[in-house]
Symmetry: C2
Subunit: 468 residues, 2 copies
């Protein structure tokens, strides 16, 4: 099918500026500093500033922004906290950045039903802070303290997905503003439904290209009665990976099982002032009843021992555990810190667990051959792992080598029945991979959907679907 | 938006008959008896025969059928085993029924990754029979031995969904033929992915209106090490419901928790020759390690006792357990058997668990006021329950009263933040409810998607989206 016409970058029409300024007062700005803040994310892609930024307070205001921008053919780009890794929030065709940070209320917590209704600017840590005392928590945890709207838009997950699923499983329903300015409500608080097309799952992962999420209903989970965390080092990465595979295949309901190669552990020790043994390592966490946790831990220790794992080091006190997981969450910044001034080209493949050892071994060879520095870390219980390829942002040749390395890693993952992105999304960086992974017919179906819902290509143009 | 033009029912063009007869030989037929078999499901809706039936053997053949039908503007209706409850497979605008019963191969079982690749005609029991010896099973179990393609198309679930999820969570990927005859592959074997729009979840639950599913990748689960089942009777339905609510809210990972009212138990005893105590009853099943199952059972027994539950009766031997669950699965037919010659108008609401007691109590009052016979049964761990309203198919006034009762039950469920259908789908029977539940803007979005992917409205026309 024909590619749509790309939005042409031109100055914001004065009438649109007037409309938004009149409607939003100081919550609308074209100030350079604010635009600059909204023109880059955590990826290595060049900054691309929006022409203006607006801070809505509710669904109706978002609908008004979209309607006004549509009237003038101006792109609209949703913005959470800017922690995306594939250029999702870059205003590559200009337009208005819609910053959701002032839509950050937890609107309702239904403890009995274990769900919460939140605005998209609520961050994962904020939600958990507000849940204190309810006996419930929201487990999904990308490294950054991301906004829930952004997490839904990119179908994010984190270290707990092996047990609790991703945003695909944990968003029960949502409110969104479509390109025509209309507000839809999809899904709902019932735990299951066969009621029509699954617009919730269509919007989750659509990266702001089909609608702007203005409210979410998320699943909560009971805080486990018992909880224990441990680290275990291995003679080599392969032994650690084999431990993971066997654990998953035995059906042990681990809550977290994370791989760090020796270089990543070194990076963490330096950045987070920890004293972990600098060897390939697994981080574990077990959730359940006291007896259940003990049973899981015993099983996994047996498996680890078989593969040459050294003794488990337990983080039993809550503050030790928090410190351990905070260090894990800061891995990305710890890795960047290995090479001052660098940026990260992050890979994010995910493969069936039986292919994980092969995928990681091949990736290690590729990294060695590339001559680049690229620590490996991953949510290996899902078959998902990352490398953070450290590049000098001013060295185009190095960036090209990093992209070539990423391409090789993705090609291998696809050959192993995997996906080019487990949790970061497509953004502007992986559109070729989208096509390689799904084929032309499926990508054309995505195009038809995009065109049907956003005929003028104004919602986050240039992201996800090639040619838009 | 404007409603699309409805397909006009007219005789199949001779050229299409010739094409399909030439391509499929005896696997294509216009014989009355075969058409009659494909012209009714388990609902109370009047029969609507297709003009022809074809039995493809693979994706390419399905693509050829769709392409041929499209050339002649003829509807295509996918057919599994005909166990749907909302008229999904009725050829209300005529057309060609595509019967998937000869696409019934399990193409691959990846035991290490706990997934299977199947053709859509594979039934749930067949898959489990083929999994024997692998240590894995496919838990989803609508009452009927439905085909997996049909289950995906209706986003079905069953008694295990409270623990294992629905088809939404258990279909990892699929192959489908779109209206233009092109074949798409979506999702895949990786456990998670952020790679583009979630076409898998869009097709799951689309009831054959967006594409014909020709292959599925489904999740498998480890057979629990230990497993026990029990029944428990209660002084009244409300006490049973309160037991369910507390069990779920405590986070006990029950595998099954099913409510049957006294009338349903009577129906089961008569139909399945069981000797269950004829009182409101819960059926339980616990899965886990031996210690875990014991722990779960002890917790739930304590909860039941608090609510006046009598002692648990355990079905410990596998054959006792199978008999119990087979009786539960035959409930629909057992209910129909209460009134010879009747048909069932099945309700299927699902509400947040905190509203379940209110929803069921109100439903019981409505049934009493209606004067109709309508046993209540449900997957109450999810907040999902059914009534089977028994009607004389020749008594239009009685059918109208049954539909009015259904409407009241749905209206209450929607008022309680629930859905009009937990697992049966919209079909031809619930399109008004779809609109009431999601609102005009969301239903319009569904229409835009339908029109984008099936502009000539040839895939299962008249189902799901009002006006198509």
């Amino acid at each position: 099918m024909n590619a749509p016409s790309r939005p042409v970058r031109r100055p914001l029409p004065q009438r649109l500026i007037d409309t938004l300024a009149a409607g939003f007062g100081t919550r609308f700005t074209t100030a350079e500093a604010v635009r600059a803040h909204h023109g880059h994310d955590e990826s290595h892609f060049p900054d691309a500033l929006p022409d203006a930024v607006v801070f809505p307070h509710g669904t109706e205001e978002v609908a008004a922004i979209v309607a006004a921008c549509r009237e003038h053919g101006v792109p609209v780009i949703p913005y959470g906290v800017g922690s995306s890794l594939e250029g999702h929030i870059l205003a590559i065709h200009g337009g208005v950045s819609v910053d959701f940070s002032e839509m950050n209320k937890v609107l309702a917590v239904h403890t009995e039903d274990m769900d919460a209704v939140v605005q998209p600017g609520v961050t994962r840590k904020q939600l958990n802070a507000e849940l204190r005392g309810t006996g419930l928590f929201f487990p999904l945890d990308p490294g950054a303290d991301a906004s829930l709207g952004g997490m839904a838009a990119t179908r994010a997950s984190g270290t707990n997905a092996v047990r609790y699923g991703t945003m695909r499983e944990n968003v029960l329903g949502l409110t969104a503003v479509l390109a025509d300015g209309r507000v839809i409500r999809s899904g709902g608080r019932a735990r299951k439904s066969s009621s029509g097309y699954d617009l919730t799952r269509l919007l989750v992962g659509s990266e702001g290209t089909l609608g702007l999420i203005t409210e979410l209903i998320v699943r909560l989970h009971p805080l486990p009665e018992a909880l224990s965390a441990a680290t275990c080092t291995f003679p080599d990465v392969d032994a650690a990976v084999r431990t993971v595979i066997q654990t998953i295949q035995l059906g042990v309901p681990v809550a977290r099982i994370e791989l760090l190669d020796a270089l990543t552990v070194t990076a963490i020790n330096r950045y987070s002032k920890t004293t972990l043994r600098e060897a390939p390592m697994l981080f574990f966490e077990f959730h359940g009843s006291p007896a259940g946790v003990e049973e899981q831990a015993a099983t996994v220790q047996d498996i680890a021992r078989e593969h040459g794992g050294l003794d488990f080091e337990w983080a039993t006190r809550p503050e030790e555990r928090s410190r351990l997981w905070q260090a894990r969450h800061d891995t990305y910044f710890a890795c960047l810190n290995l090479k001052p001034g660098c940026r990260g080209v992050t890979t994010d493949v995910c493969v069936p667990i039986s292919r994980l050892a092969e995928a990681i071994a091949g990736t290690r060879e590729d990294i060695a051959a590339s001559g680049l520095v690229a620590p490996i870390v991953g949510h290996v219980g899902d078959g998902n792992f990352h490398t953070v390829i450290l590049v000098n942002p001013d060295d185009e040749a190095e960036i090209e080598r990093a992209e070539a390395l990423n391409r090789r890693i993705v090609e291998r993952a696809l050959a192993l029945d995997g996906t080019c992105t487990g949790e970061h999304g497509i953004g502007i960086g992986k559109q070729d991979f989208l096509l390689a992974e799904h084929g032309a017919a499926a990508v054309d179906a995505m195009r038809l959907i995009k065109r049907a819902l956003d005929p003028d290509n104004l919602l986050n143009p240039g992201k996800v679907v090639p040619g838009f």
